[in-house]
Structure formats: structure tokens, C-alpha cells
């Protein structure tokens, strides 16, 4: 059963775009529920990337020959598409290798530029994954700024009261995820902006932006980072949006070719943003491919994608809630989106995932989801023998109710198998 927003014609298009959906694994139809780690890839994007590599490829920005012009135009067109998608200006869209590099760029650039000094406070939440935690933690050891946290409750949920309470620490920088990769909670970004009107606000959009648009101007976000591979795009490509006036004040993260203005044997001055943050030869075909990906998503209709993920999320939460041998984490209300973390009582997450894959063709994620501190919070609130990790099922717009029903069937089997 398909159900949801897609017409027959649209569904045919989706099926032909994602050929791996027709694959079997271990004799079963593939049910891919590991979208929060990385999504499947689209045929038209791969075809266009192959065409680009084979017939239009060269290095960009420097040479004057025809291939260089074509490649440069394709690369810059991708920037334009992403700029429109985010409601940002061209100079505000920097290409990175992904979310992790985006955060590392900001942390390093802030300390080099004096935007972050000894005694300053950086505010994170307790639900950040390691990419938005470890770079700040390590830099704070070298540069003397302080890290404070918006506290999560025992279900791993960030409540508005906790956000309000954190205003007392007067942060210079607030860096938070738009949606937790463990609890699935979408954070109230508007509320955060209002609570911290003067802080530099960084949003980690890695989980939210694949299924819900983020308008950087409407939300008055200073920086936004995300990855292409979690929204059908190639791996190794990410975006850093930054307000122009801030990017201009910032020291580059990586130094090298393309990002310079004038170089002597004594020193160098830098190109303008975004180029001063794109040292060396970038992942040209990946960026071009991400442009095609965005085009595909827009043709499918971003609002429909958002709606479909919402419908599937609800069905997933409701289906899992009915299994009394599961412990579910996260808010489970309307703020809970696209993924559910859970444990099967008495069964280790690795065993759950392994059996789901081998017996039912269901791909889920098991582990600490690169969020170890959050695991310790869930452990405290847990009523079972918590194994320091969880199973996570996550949907994208090409999943179906059938997929979730297969997961439920698999979980019942797992329960039975390990209680004998």
C-alpha cells in the first residue's frame, strides 16, 4: 500500500529514479529505513553527473578554454540554485565537504577572526551529534571559551523552558541542530532566534533540510550547514550559508589556491566570499550533481516531500507505539519527524538490526548515532536495561506504509526469536 501525496504518475517517476528500491537483499524486497544516515541516490542525477564528467569536465574558475567555461558555469549554476532554495545571495553560499566540515570551518574561523575569544560562551544543546559538539569542545580547550548546554529532559527532548533558562548564560554563539538525529525532534528555531536576538546563530540543518525547507532570511539565521548526501545528492558535498557581513569579517579556514587575492613572499590577501572559503580544487562534479539533485526535488515538489515525510513519520510512530515490547525515545508528538529511535526490551540493537536485515531485508541503523552524551541521558530515563545504543528507523519520501509494516513484522519476529 502506497498512500500519501503521490499520484500514480509521480510514484512511477520516483520508482524509476531510485532503481535500488527494486532490489532484493537476502531474498527480500529492500526496505530502506536508514535515510537519516544517508539517502538512496537518483538515476537522473547520476546520469547527468556522468555526462558532466565525460563531456564537460575540467577544473573551474581559472582557465579560459571552453571546457573550463562550461564546468565553471555548471558549478556556479548549482550555487545559484542553492541560493534560491535557501533564500540567500550568491556570495553567501559556500561549498564544503559536508556538515562536519562546515562546523569545523566556523569554529576555526571564529577563533582566528576574534569572533570568539577567551571568556566567551558558546551554547549548544545536549542533543547535538558529534559534528556539532566535538569541534567546539576541542577548540574551547585551546582558546579558553566556555561551552554551555540547553538541557534535554529524560526523554532527550528540548523544552522551550530549557531554552529560556539558557538565556542566563549570555552566549556569544548559539549552535544547534534543527532536528535531532536521535530523538527526531524538530527544534523551535523561531523561538531560539527570539530568545537569543544578539547571538551568532548557527543551525545544523543536516537532518531537517532534506524534508523541510529552511528560509535563512525569514528565520534570521547567521549560519546554516548541511550535507547533500542526506537529500539524494552525492557524498563529499555540503553547504555553508553565512550572512555576507559575517563572512567578510572572517578569516579563511583552509588556505591555498583560488581563495587568494594577492600573494607575495611575505603574506597574502584573500578573495571575496564565498571564494575565500573554497581553497583548492573542490568536488566539482559533486557540486554540479547537487544542483541537479535540488532540481529533481523541486520538480517533485518540496512541499509534497515535506507532507509525505510527515505522513510516514506519523504512521511510523503510531505503528511502533503499538508494540508493547519496545521503548521509544523522543517527543512522539507533532514535533517528532522522519525518524524514531527505539529499543527492543532485552535485545541488543546490533542483534535487532542484523536480524531485520537478514530475515526481512529491512535496513535500519544501530549504535549510538554519533551522539554518545545523549545516550547517557536516554539511559537515565530508560525503564529497561539500556544498552548504551538504540535502533533507529528513518524514512524519506520514497518509503511506503508497506515498508513500515514490514519493519513491524520484523520486530515481532525479533522479539520472539530472542525470548525463546
Amino acid at each position: 500500500m502506497r498512500s500519501g501525496v503521490w499520484s500514480d504518475k509521480e510514484w512511477e517517476c520516483i520508482k524509476s529514479e531510485i532503481p535500488v528500491l527494486d532490489r532484493t537483499v537476502n531474498g527480500k524486497r529492500l526496505v530502506y529505513l536508514d535515510n537519516a544516515a544517508s539517502t538512496l541516490k537518483a538515476k537522473s542525477v547520476i546520469d547527468k553527473m556522468a555526462d558532466f564528467y565525460l563531456y564537460h569536465y575540467s577544473n573551474i574558475h581559472r582557465a579560459v578554454h571552453t571546457l573550463a567555461s562550461e564546468a565553471t558555469m555548471a558549478y556556479e549554476q548549482a550555487r545559484e540554485k542553492i541560493g534560491r532554495f535557501l533564500n540567500a545571495q550568491l556570495g553567501e553560499v559556500v561549498f564544503t565537504s559536508g556538515t562536519t566540515m562546515g562546523i569545523n570551518l566556523l569554529v576555526n574561523s571564529f577563533v582566528r577572526s576574534g569572533l570568539l575569544r577567551e571568556g566567551d560562551v558558546v551554547l549548544l544543546t545536549q542533543v547535538e551529534h558529534h559534528a556539532n559538539l566535538v569541534p567546539w569542545l576541542r577548540a574551547s580547550k585551546f582558546h579558553g571559551f566556555r561551552i554551555e548546554y540547553i538541557q534535554a529532559d529524560e526523554k532527550g527532548v528540548i523544552l522551550k523552558e530549557a531554552i529560556e533558562k539558557a538565556t542566563s548564560v549570555k552566549p556569544k554563539v548559539v549552535s544547534i541542530t534543527a532536528q535531532s538525529n536521535v530523538t527526531g525532534q524538530e527544534l523551535p528555531l523561531n523561538f531560539v532566534r527570539e530568545a537569543f536576538p544578539n547571538a551568532i546563530l548557527i543551525i545544523d540543518g543536516a537532518q531537517l533540510i532534506p524534508h523541510k525547507k529552511i528560509d535563512v532570511k525569514a528565520l534570521d539565521i547567521d549560519f546554516l550547514v548541511f550535507s547533500a548526501h542526506k537529500m539524494l545528492g552525492p557524498t563529499g558535498v555540503g553547504v555553508l550559508y553565512g550572512k555576507r557581513e559575517l563572512l567578510e569579517r572572517m578569516e579563511p579556514f583552509l588556505y591555498g589556491g583560488e581563495m587568494i587575492d594577492r600573494v607575495t613572499f611575505e603574506d597574502a590577501t584573500f578573495n571575496v566570499p564565498p571564494y575565500k572559503f573554497e581553497a583548492g580544487t573542490p568536488h566539482i562534479a559533486g557540486v554540479v550533481g547537487f544542483g541537479y539533485t535540488l532540481e529533481l526535488l523541486e520538480n517533485l515538489d518540496l512541499e509534497k516531500i515535506e507532507k509525505q515525510v510527515e505522513i510516514l513519520s506519523r504512521y511510523l510512530i503510531d505503528s511502533l507505539s503499538r508494540l508493547d515490547f519496545l521503548e521509544l525515545y523522543g517527543p512522539l508528538d507533532d514535533s517528532h519527524r522522519s525518524l524514531v529511535s527505539f529499543n527492543v526490551q532485552g535485545v541488543h540493537p546490533h542483534d535487532v538490526s542484523h536480524v531485520l536485515d537478514q530475515m526481512f531485508g529491512v535496513a535500519t541503523r544501530s549504535g549510538h548515532h554519533c551522539a554518545q552524551p545523549l545516550m547517557s541521558i536516554l539511559k537515565r530515563g530508560s525503564k529497561i536495561d539500556f544498552p548504551n545504543s538504540t535502533v533507529r528507523a528513518s524514512v524519506y519520501f520514497y518509503n511506503t506504509f508497506d515498508d513500515i509494516d514490514t519493519l513491524v513484522e520484523g520486530l515481532k519476529f525479533v522479539r520472539k526469536m530472542f525470548s525463546e
Binding site: H348, H350, D351, M359, S366, H368, D385, P387, N388
Partner: protein, 133 residues
């Protein structure tokens, strides 16, 4: 499937779970990918392992692997245990190994086909390696 009766049974064994108060060696091992932890207690008499126990949580594979390992190393000298370890490691990494030496450890042979589960199998063995260093 790697969940054979042997592995399921050994994963539930309680015989080797616990502390050895006067242990000669206490070593903590960790699987970074899932947060599983094991504490291995060894009681040595000279060069010989006379008793071993463990504490910790883990999946079926790591629990079964720990139980089988402990059962096999009790009574062996350090050198013999290390020789067993090398062969167990070779088996799980798809390299050449001595079948006769491994005995019941051979029940884990198929785990080598699942790269993410290789770490589960190796958790107790890696911990033993650190303990005997």
C-alpha cells in the same frame, strides 16, 4: 544467519560473568561503534591463566564470543592464549588459520561475512590482547 543454537546458548551463559576480587589483570575493552563495554578479569599463576571472568553489556555475538573465549583460555599459558588469539583473529579476518586449534571458536566462522559484526566477535579478544601485553 549467524544466530546458531550454539551462539544463542553461549550468549546467555552466566558461568563466567562476574568479578575476580584478587585478579592479576583487569582490562577494559570498548567497541567504539556501539558503546559496548567489557571488563575482563584474569587470574594468573605464573605464566598460566587459572581463572577468568567478565562483566559488561553487549550483543549476542560479543557475549557469546566472550564466554567461548574465557572457556578456552582457562588453563592455558599466556603464549598458548596468544596463539589462540592470533588464529581466532585470522579466522574472522578471512586469513589462514589452524582449524584444530580453534575448536568451538569455529562456530563463529560465518561472522567474517559481516564486517560490522567482526568487531563484536573481536571485542573480548582485543581486550585479552591488551591484558596480556
Amino acid at each position: 544467519m549467524i544466530y546458531s543454537e550454539f551462539i544463542m546458548d553461549y550468549s546467555k551463559l552466566k558461568k563466567f560473568v562476574g568479578k575476580i576480587e584478587n585478579a592479576t589483570k583487569v582490562e577494559e575493552g570498548k567497541n567504539l561503534s556501539c558503546g559496548d563495554e567489557v571488563t575482563l578479569y584474569l587470574l594468573l599463576d605464573g605464566n598460566r591463566i587459572v581463572d577468568a571472568k567478565f562483566e559488561g553489556h553487549g550483543c549476542t555475538i560479543s557475549q557469546a564470543s566472550t564466554n567461548v573465549m574465557i572457556e578456552q583460555i582457562i588453563g592455558k599459558t599466556k603464549e598458548e592464549a596468544l596463539e589462540l588469539l592470533r588464529n581466532a583473529e585470522n579466522m574472522i579476518l578471512g586469513k589462514e588459520f589452524n582449524e584444530k586449534l580453534l575448536g568451538p571458536i569455529l562456530n563463529f566462522y560465518d561472522v567474517k561475512n559481516y564486517p560490522m559484526r567482526v568487531k563484536c566477535f573481536l571485542l573480548p579478544w582485543k581486550t585479552l590482547e591488551m591484558a596480556l601485553k
